[in-house]
């Protein structure tokens, strides 16, 4: 109970009730009931807003798109056309007729497995490299200009080099993911390690922790929030990179699927694929954020 409505004890039944006090009691109870009702209304409105507003904007956008599609036929297909053209793609993502003729689920799965390997490697190497650069000052000074330049190179620009060096499509795609997503991980880990409070360092000094113990017991946990910021940016960038690089490399994968449908002018299929790409990217981002929240619980306490 958030509010205690009857605060005063009722007067004994045999004694005559004080009319003024009784009146006040009634007024107070009414005012409190009003307060509770108002707060309930606010909460309900808040909840409704959380679900209703996104629904409203999405349907408004779809309606606008539909109207534009009907007004200019022959251009971008309208939502209802997409629904008709790409029925199988939308409602059966699991079909597999061999070759590259598969449901979107399989394309996305292949792309995700590439991201898993490339991003996983980038995470491990990035955290280790970032921890090293955050600790050793001269190493950071030496590599900082290189990192600052390399991190701005777009994913697709890496593709020719990696194809020339690795000669095969699969490792090249992995390399492009790796090299795109490693920079934010390195930079954020470095910042996190450099910002470890002096207090924790002093504790480690008094205890005479070995470098290994310091790395696992102090450095990693203290830098965890920063590391996960880097991982979150990194996973987003790796998803950007995979779609782009698959477009050029071919084979199974959501990127190539989009390119393939473009070549056969199936706009509706591309739109369905785009929705998948967006949703998967969103889920990846949330997933890393959730893991980060779980792992770094406590670290932000004072």
């Amino acid at each position: 109970m958030p509010f205690e409505v009857h605060k005063m004890t009722a007067p004994q039944s045999d004694t005559p009730a004080d009319p003024v006090a009784d009146h006040n009691q009634i007024l107070l109870a009414a005012a409190q009931a009003k307060q509770i009702a108002a707060s309930r209304r606010r909460k309900l409105a808040d909840k409704a807003g959380n679900y209703l507003m996104p629904l409203l904007t999405v349907s408004a956008l779809l309606l606008m798109w539909e109207a534009l599609g009907t007004a200019f036929p022959g251009g971008l297909p309208s939502p209802s056309m997409v629904l008709m053209d790409a029925q199988e793609l939308i409602f059966n993502p699991f079909y597999d007729r061999g070759g590259v003729d598969k449901g979107l689920f399989w394309h996305v799965l292949t792309s995700l497995s590439r991201v898993g390997i490339g991003f996983g490697l980038a995470a491990v190497c990035g955290v280790l490299l970032g921890a090293f650069l955050g600790t050793v000052d001269w190493a950071r000074k030496g590599t900082d200009p290189i990192i600052q330049v390399l991190r701005t190179v777009p994913p697709l620009a890496w593709l020719p080099i990696s194809l020339a060096a690795l000669r095969e499509a699969q490792p090249s795609a992995l390399f492009v993911i790796f090299i795109t997503s490693i920079w934010p991980i390195v930079i954020n880990t470095m910042v996190g390690v450099r910002n470890i409070p002096q207090d924790y360092v002093n504790v480690a000094k008094v205890l005479r922790l070995t470098p290994g113990e310091y790395f696992f017991k102090i450095m990693l946990p203290a830098a965890t929030p920063h590391i996960f910021t880097g991982l979150r940016i990194g996973v987003g960038m790796s998803w950007l990179a995979i779609v782009a690089s698959e477009m050029l490399l071919g084979g199974v994968g959501i990127g190539f699927f989009i390119w393939d449908q473009y070549n056969s002018s199936r706009m509706s299929d591309i739109i369905v694929a785009l929705v998948w790409v967006g949703l998967v990217g969103f889920v990846l981002d949330r997933l890393v954020a959730l893991v980060g929240q779980y792992v770094s619980r406590g670290t932000t306490a004072d």
């Binding site: 207090d199 000094k205 008094v206 205890l207 005479r208 017991k217 203290a222 406590g298 306490a301």
Partner: protein, 269 residues
């Protein structure tokens, strides 16, 4: 008298910044015997924390030497455990894990898991924190954090326990409780303690000797008073103790005389 456990000999500490030297400590000498409780008091910025950090090994001396058991102090180590002002517990570990970290580091090689576990719990029990052993530092109060900090330091079984204004950030009631705990512990394990404080009552109540420092820069040890009030001490009874009152008066007098911000009015002859 026997040889001192800890001795500071003609210590000078200078800090350099942009080519300018600022002298913090000038010719500080101090001897501490085993089992003694020393309070170091002085105005803020007088270098008392620097003095403690010299003993902790966190600040190098410019000239002179700090000796513990006749060995020069060259860096931080567990035989000079520090209870930091802001507790410095690792927030990602539970209370138990924070103490266990120290226990495992110091005794991990010699004792089995059961012994390590018992040792951890024993130290938590000393400060009456067993009930919160599975909580994280973020979930307990400031006073409780400081208790855990003390438990962690005690777990190292240090030759000298260094307390750096351990109760500075606590409210008066919590502070009094913790002072009682520290007195009890000192009584029980006869530890050698060096405590920084800016609270006159705290300094006198806990200590065998109170070291008063002059204002920085170039802080020196101004006076040292012995507190002969018998132990165990009770915070209410000492208020009637003549020795206690004398010590308190001389410290307040010293601090007022060295207060640059608010110079004391000239005393009538």
């Amino acid at each position: 008298m026997s040889k001192p456990l800890l001795s500071l000999e003609n210590i000078y500490v200078d800090f350099e910044r942009d080519g300018v030297i600022s002298q913090v400590l000038e010719n500080v000498s101090l001897s501490v015997h085993k089992g003694e409780f020393l309070s170091i008091i002085g105005h803020s910025g007088c270098g008392k924390s620097t003095l403690l950090n010299v003993v902790a090994g966190l600040v190098p001396v410019t000239l002179g030497a700090a000796l513990l058991d006749n060995k020069e102090i060259k860096g931080p180590g567990p035989e000079r455990a520090v209870v930091f002002q802001n507790h410095s517990l690792l927030p990602w570990m539970t209370v138990y894990e924070n103490v266990r970290l120290a226990v495992a580091k110091l005794y991990g090689a010699r004792e089995n898991l059961k012994q390590l576990h018992d040792r951890t719990l024993h130290n938590l029990e000393l400060v009456k924190m067993t009930h919160a052993k599975d909580k994280r530092p973020g979930e307990i109060s400031g006073g409780m954090k400081q208790r855990v900090g003390i438990a962690r330091a005690l777990a190292m079984e240090p030759k000298v326990l260094l307390l750096d204004e351990p109760f500075g950030a606590l409210d008066a009631l919590t502070r009094a409780h913790l002072q009682d705990t520290v007195m009890e512990l000192h009584e029980r394990i006869r530890s050698t303690v060096l405590m920084i404080t800016h609270d006159v009552d705290e300094a006198v109540l806990l200590a065998d000797r109170v070291v008063m420092m002059t204002n920085g820069p170039k802080a020196r040890i101004g006076e040292i008073v012995d507190v002969k009030t018998p132990r165990p001490r009770d915070r209410k009874q000492v208020l009637q103790d003549a020795q206690f009152i004398d010590c308190r008066r001389s410290i307040v007098g010293f601090l007022e005389a060295h207060d640059h911000a608010h110079p004391a009015p000239a005393e009538p002859a």
